[in-house]
Amino acid sequence: MIRIACALVALLLAGCSSEPRQDAPAARAPAGAASPDTAAPVLVPIDAPGIVAAVRAGGAKATLVNVWASWCQPCREEFPDLVRLARELEGRGFRVVFVSADFADDLPNAEAFLAEHGVSGPTYVKTGDDMQFIDTLDPSWSGALPGSFLYDGAGRRVRSWEGKASYDSLRARVLPVLDSASGS
């Protein structure tokens, strides 16, 4: 019965939804973690509106934007858990969008770090004004790294946090968003 109910909820919600979605620029490929292809990591420049567009264009049921840097120790400590969670929940529609805040002269280190953790294909490097970047992601974010921003399938930010989170706490934050999306 609950399965039927959940399916009906999904139908009802889909039928009621009228929120327009903003498409990402065609040149901006969705960034993902630990995809199975073997392409070398590529850091694509992105500004704050670009991130919002990428989140909404991804088609995921839950998207976590993680702002990190290769020399940021808490970021480095958290990174493997983010990659692990992205792999485990990819089938349920979860996606991690990594945005590096490295300076230009540190980008080779960032790419090497991504490769070391099996992250292939395009991810992002932040460009543009810091204030706009911070306030677009979350006006209450201080700007300290790492910063994480969790969006639902409609591209609405549902939660954000500063500092590293453990695997268990990451999973506990993401699952309710996926559960809400699937109605399971």
Binding site: V9, D130, R157, S180
Partner: protein, 212 residues
């Protein structure tokens, strides 16, 4: 029961069963001082690079007081270091007291140790205090969260500017908004600060564990 009414009823059942995250929840970030606040823990002892203890109260200037939380290891702090030294030295000449505070736990990164602070202050020609917050309690009291992060108080001791050094950490030549310099100019000349709150990306402060 019609299909429609069943669907609506089922929707309520299902929604009650599915945990929905609160909209736009933010996990307890540090709450920084608000504009107008006075200097907290102004009498707390900080170990300056000259080996002596100082307090923020002892370093207040006639025109105001600048407190910058920074460190040795953070790449952002390094990028801004030379500019910050010049800003601080110039502010001192204009009657604004200045103290840079390192609240990071050197156990997390040896580069944030006291000996490196001494080297860095000498290398950059800092004429103002660069002091260690040995418990991180001063940083906590300010609600500081990142390095570098500036708090500027006017002559009456009220916070009139909080935020970044300027709008381009990576390249001093491309700065278009020298936020902190403008704010210092304002209080040094008795004017109101125009842009009073700004943000920039920065390293998180590596707080020492709280005393039990």
């Amino acid at each position: 029961m019609s299909i429609r009414s069943f669907a609506v009823a089922a929707a309520f059942v299902a929604l009650a069963a599915v945990p929905v995250p609160p909209a736009q929840a933010q996990d307890a970030p540090p709450t920084p001082l608000t504009l107008g606040a006075t200097i907290p823990l102004a009498d707390a002892k900080l170990r300056n690079v000259d080996g002596k203890d100082v307090t923020i109260a002892s370093l207040r200037g006639k025109k105001g007081t600048l407190v910058v939380f920074t460190c040795n290891a953070c790449p952002w702090a390094k990028k801004w270091e030379t500019r910050m030294a010049k800003l601080g030295n110039d502010a001192l000449k204009r009657g604004v007291g200045v103290v840079a505070i390192n609240a990071n736990d050197p156990e997390r990164n040896k580069e944030d140790g006291y000996d490196v602070m001494q080297e860095r202050a000498q290398q950059r020609g800092m004429k103002f205090a660069y002091a260690m917050d040995r418990t991180s309690e001063v940083a906590r009291a300010f609600g500081a969260s990142r390095t570098p992060e500036a708090f500027l108080f006017d002559a009456s001791g009220a916070l009139v500017y909080h935020g970044a050094i300027d709008d381009n950490a990576d390249d001093a030549a491309k700065v278009t908004k020298p936020y902190l310099e403008n704010a210092i100019n304002a209080i040094a000349t008795g004017k109101a600060v125009g842009t009073a709150q700004t943000k920039a990306l920065g390293c998180s402060i590596k707080f020492r564990p709280k005393a039990s």
